[in-house]
Symmetry: C2
Subunit: 151 residues, 2 copies
């Protein structure tokens, strides 16, 4: 089947499939004489696997390792479990961090009357020197740390 069909069945967009090929996450697809990529059922399964793993927040690097383990009949399930467990821990840390952020934000917004008067505890809180709420982590982690949720 062509890339469009593979995309539909695997739920990975054609654009992204080509991207995965370009970075070596998947092997280059075979081609028709005219240059179209062709995909088998097995290829679609692989793409689905990738889709599921990505939707669970594994990085592309992690997915690459998981694919190796998946294809390696001799792997130990302990290896997979270790990867997954580390990932869960990372996700948990992110959840906690987001909760702290939300609590602080809620605290600030609750104290803001939110009308047309200019004084605003939210801005005062942001301007203030210390944390408005609770101890911050050693190194403040920004949201974009979520780009890579590693161990």
């Amino acid at each position: 089947m062509n890339i469009g069909q593979a995309a539909k069945h695997s739920k990975v967009s054609a654009k992204t499939i080509r991207y995965y090929e370009s970075i070596g996450l998947i092997a280059p697809a075979s081609r028709t004489e005219s240059g179209y990529r062709t995909y088998s059922e097995k290829d679609v399964q692989t793409l689905s696997f990738i889709h599921h793993a990505r939707s669970l927040g594994f990085s592309v690097k992690d997915v690459s390792m998981l694919l190796d383990l998946w294809r390696n009949q001799k792997r130990a399930s302990a290896d997979v479990k270790a990867l997954a467990t580390a990932h869960i821990a990372a996700v948990d840390r992110k959840i906690e961090e987001l909760k702290r952020m939300r609590d602080t934000l809620l605290d600030l917004t609750n104290r803001c009357h939110g009308d047309d008067r200019p004084d605003c505890p939210i801005l005062e809180g942001l301007a203030g020197s210390g944390s408005t709420h609770k101890a911050a982590p050693e190194k403040t982690q920004y949201l974009n740390d979520f780009e890579t949720v590693g161990p």
Copy 2:
């Protein structure tokens, strides 16, 4: 003071301060005759404000708006509150998504014996066609959606 001191006091790295200047988030700093950037107490306050807002997960675009509101004495606190409230909602959505991911991951790892045998429910779950756990959101959101936590 020079950029290094400003960085130390504001907790925004010198590199990042220059970056903020380059994208127009902050006004270009004044310079000494030899070209060094110089910063006032007020500049440091602004940088601290940015640091706090970023650590609460506001995007740089959001921070830009917050800075405008902060400097505008005629602003309505309702405007700030609206921005903050939308942000809280976005953070909440991300927390829920991460929780769903963690639940699925926990389910898979709990069913994995994690020894040296090759069969592994985690990989089977990733390979399986459907969600292993609960209904997924309409469009699966990847972790890197966290790069921008907007409304």
